[in-house]
Amino acid sequence: MTLELETIKWIPWLPALAAVVGGVCCMRKSMRNLAAPACILSILAGFIITLGVQSKVTVDSPRVFKAFTWIHIENFAVDFSFYVDPLTIIMLTVITGVGTLVAWYASGYMKGDRGYARFFAAVSLFIFAMTILVMADNLFLLYLGWEGVGLCSYLLIGFYYNKPAAVAAAKKAFIVNRIGDLFFALGIFLTYSHFHTVSLAEVLRSAGDLNTNLHAGGQGVFDLGAAPSVVVIPFLLMLGAFGKSAQLPLYMWLPDAMEGPTPVSALIHAATMVTAGVYLIARLLPLFALSPYALPIVAAVGGATALFAATIALCQCDIKRIFAYSTISQLGYMFMGVGAVSTAGPTVSATGAIYHLFTHAFFKALLFLTAGSVMHSLAGQLDLRKMSGLSKKMPITSVLMLIGCLALAGFPFTSGFFSKDLILADVVEMGRSNSPFATLYSVLGIVGVATAFLTAFYTFRLWFRVFTGPEQYEMGSDGHGHEEEGHDAGKAGHEQAHAPKSGETASAAIAVEHHHEPHEVSFVLMNLPLIFLAIGALGAGLWESKFGWIHHGIETSSAFLGYIPKTASDAGEAHDIHFTMQLISGSIAIVGIALAAWFHWLNRPAGERVARAFSGLVKVLNNKYYVDELNDALIVRPLRTLADVLFVFDSLIIDGIVQLVGFLPRALGMSLRPSQQGELQGYGLGMAFGAAFVLIVVLWSLNLVAMH
């Protein structure tokens, strides 16, 4: 099936329409259930269009579809127009594909929630913003999508707005993202002021030309002093990407973002939005090549984040948080991958990052959604320590999650295995190149392997903990995914599902619900989409390695047009590295899984002994290196104190000065008051002295004048 390329411009607008429909549905209780189909269908339609047009998108056909002029003043023109090249298609496939499945799942998961329509309106809005982000023809529009997804993330993290934690998390996410966004915006400004355009195609072309010139200039590239201000652009953009993709300085928001409904975590905080940073760098690679330091730094930050987050994930007990840290860690991989593009000797390797982005979307969404299923059946219980041996109660879920875990751990021939391996191979290859940063990349290669081991270990720690061992569990206190406001009539859906005894008060119904048995979730609504995801998680790698769809797409993407790959004179060596890395990472994964199986399934007491032996370390990791506390103590509190101080300063000092100035006339008046004491002769004295003073002064001055 093929469609006209033109139809692609409908992709963002359908979810937008769905968002409006969802908004309307919010108003009427009776229409509430319409929101979900509208959302799912709109995303599905986007997916179909993406698949339909993808064959039309070739290296020659990056096409711009203009919807309307957005901002135009003087020679600053920004169109609301879409730019389509293979990278766009890859991203759209992920977004609409995973999006459809997650929305489908959510239509079951969110059933009965009071904010059902609101949820789907926000999800539709998110898809709109996300598609705008990846289809944007210019940096401003990209920024619109960028902030738009941030907004949706805010709205969805804070979906359970009655929970202070959710509200706080939402706020944190938005603000931390804003920090990144500021740098991104400044990057855009700098780009504009240097290239006089923000159009992607033109910026990329100009940057490519500039690169060519710089490279032609030889070693001048490294001479920062002589470099124009353009070399700052990549660093600004990079910080934006770090914010959105939760990389090291700006990652804190993502674990907290798990306060949102689980489908949101799956879609936004695992599969799509958080990868926008990777997309940004991949898309603007020529800009990042403007500074020779930019990409190595990206890679280094990615590597550091990957390891850092993986270590934290080792000791977390909240399922979703483990996955959150794992997401951060995997995003670190992607940054490593995208940073492993040499600027000195052009070889194309960003494939690894996008590839990993693609596969990660599937398996991480799968993992989150299965975690959601677990939560759903355990009334919101997320603590690893409070559940065990659930595979009997939830067989499908356990298998699905196993698939996800395998992919995440990079078990051979799962999708994660291929993509992660590609990144590692690229990094190691860079380490062996003549790049000035070769050492850095070598280190990163080791970090990558270490992280892969940790990933395998913590992933399976989770899986074994939840699904193996003796069957025991403790129900959650509230309904993650269930509306907490028990006395609200909006519970209808769920109450039907669980059939509370009639005549009971609403709160009693909740009480009952909290003590029901774990159960498998609805198949059609929730497990069926998961199965599709599982197929993706298992098969995407094999499919890619057979067809090279992503590889081809990336190579033909406009960002890489300036980097025509060498005709692989060293292809053989590259292949060797590739194979070696596959071997290493595959075995590392298996070792990690085995270790996890030993400590967390077969011999749990041993695991506990080890944990006790390293209790100090465990405590540090458990508390996430105390980063939140540090952040609070070093940034938030001082800033807040500063705000309070400034407020006092404002009302005391600044207003005080104003008041003082305002008081001056009064003071002057008071000091003059004695002159008006009411005595006739006092006044006469004043008048006489005044007149005499005038005479004396004036005549004296006349005298002076006369003397000159």
Binding site: R673, Q676, Q677, G678, E679, L680, Q681, G684, L685, A688
Partner: protein, 106 residues
């Protein structure tokens, strides 16, 4: 014009006038009785009148002396007014101490 004061220079007359004027001012500022104070203002007027006459003589025209006539008229009018006022005040407070009239202030 051979009169006794003829050979006195103008300055003497002016000085006399000024001294009387200043004395009037000093009296105005220092005396307590309203009537005396009023008389001091009269003194000031007369000091000015002396100057006027002197100038008139100096300029050899009559304007100054004419002026003096008018000044005297005004002084008389003021005197009438002052006496009326003094009566009014005395009825009100039974005193003519200038300091007694210092209620309004600020």
């Amino acid at each position: 014009m051979d009169q006794p004061l003829d050979n006195l220079p103008l300055a003497h007359f002016l000085l006399t006038g000024a001294v009387i004027f200043v004395l009037g001012v000093i009296g105005f500022l220092t005396r307590r009785n309203l009537i005396i104070i009023f008389l001091c203002t009269e003194m000031m007027f007369q000091g000015v009148a002396i100057s006027l006459v002197a100038f008139s003589r100096f300029h050899m025209n009559m304007t100054g002396q004419t002026f003096v006539i008018f000044v005297l008229t005004i002084a008389a009018a003021e005197a009438a007014l002052a006496l009326g006022l003094v009566v009014l005040l005395f009825r009100r407070k039974r005193t003519l101490d200038a300091q007694a009239w210092a209620e309004l202030s600020g």
